[in-house]
Symmetry: C2
């Protein structure tokens, strides 16, 4: 990672933070890219060059999480069945909800109540699903089957549902238990 990449990532992080703050207080649809750029002290061009779309300013961070999940999945022991491996790998995804529930709750709410964000998020998951299936198969040296992909998809659906319940409980219910309850319907 060159120093340029570091600088670029720092700018990106700052822009995302400013954007999240404005979306959180005014609502995604009531903030324009011009507003975001002005608030962050950059031009409209620069903002869009960093994120491509308004949605990516919120959802861009999730790509890293998916890579982490895939990596963790690959490291789960082959003796573990797929459901258990998936359940464990998702612990990474819900770590932020434990360490910074305030922020995680605001993000989850924003995504859930904004159709454009929700749709993009689901599409992102759909894009990552094959990679999860590959990781699931690779950890036990198997080749990818439809079963791997179905289990990966089911686990993601489970995550979304558990997160939805968690959000609607204002973060009061335990996300770990909600996930366990969800996986219980699958295992």
């Amino acid at each position: 990672m060159s120093s340029r990449d570091i600088a670029r990532a720092a700018v990106r992080a700052r822009l995302a933070e400013v954007a999240f703050g404005m979306f959180r207080s005014a609502g995604f649809d009531n903030v324009t890219v011009n507003d975001l750029a002005a608030a962050a002290g950059v031009s409209r061009s620069t903002f869009l060059r960093h994120f491509g779309t308004k949605e990516e300013a919120v959802l861009g961070a999730f790509d890293l999480q998916f890579e982490q999940i895939a990596a963790l999945l690959r490291e789960r022991p082959a003796s573990e069945d797929d459901w258990t491996a998936l359940r464990r790998a998702l612990d990474t995804m819900i770590a932020p909800h434990r360490t910074d529930p305030e922020n995680a709750l605001a993000t989850a709410r924003l995504v859930e109540e904004t159709p454009a964000l929700c749709a993009h998020q689901l599409h992102k998951q759909n894009t990552w699903r094959p990679a999860l299936a590959t990781a699931l198969a690779a950890r036990s040296g198997q080749s990818v089957t439809m079963a791997h992909e179905v289990r990966a998809g089911a686990a993601l659906a489970c995550l979304n549902i558990a997160l939805g319940h968690w959000t609607r409980s204002n973060g009061e219910r335990d996300l770990d238990e909600l996930l366990n309850e969800g996986f219980h319907a699958l295992m």
Copy 2:
């Protein structure tokens, strides 16, 4: 259903058909709403009044299918386990792929290769999932639990994955069998 509603539905169907034809031959992103309106002989305003968004011209029909699935699900006998009931209900969804594979294949391809359509489709499924869970619970007089919702979500993921395989096989593989294979990883 008044005569006005009938006329309205007829116009909608015709507009959707024209739109699908153009999307199919030129690609979703290469056709503007102006193009669609001109080809259908209506104004841009009228086209957008009927569908709201370009995407809905393609995906609008799926709402009916989801209602059908929910209705069928409610009618499955309480003696059937949830997975079997879901699997049977999905037969409705894949009926068109049997009766008119040509058209179904083109639609599936269009949705899959167009990110905007894919995202909207997934969001639609996400919106309908609670209704499926309710139907699943109602058929055996239970109240809705997270398990119902998780199973509904998993079934939808399974449908998407099976459809993806079917599309990539150019409609040559049997969608019924693909669905069975997918559900096998869950049941």
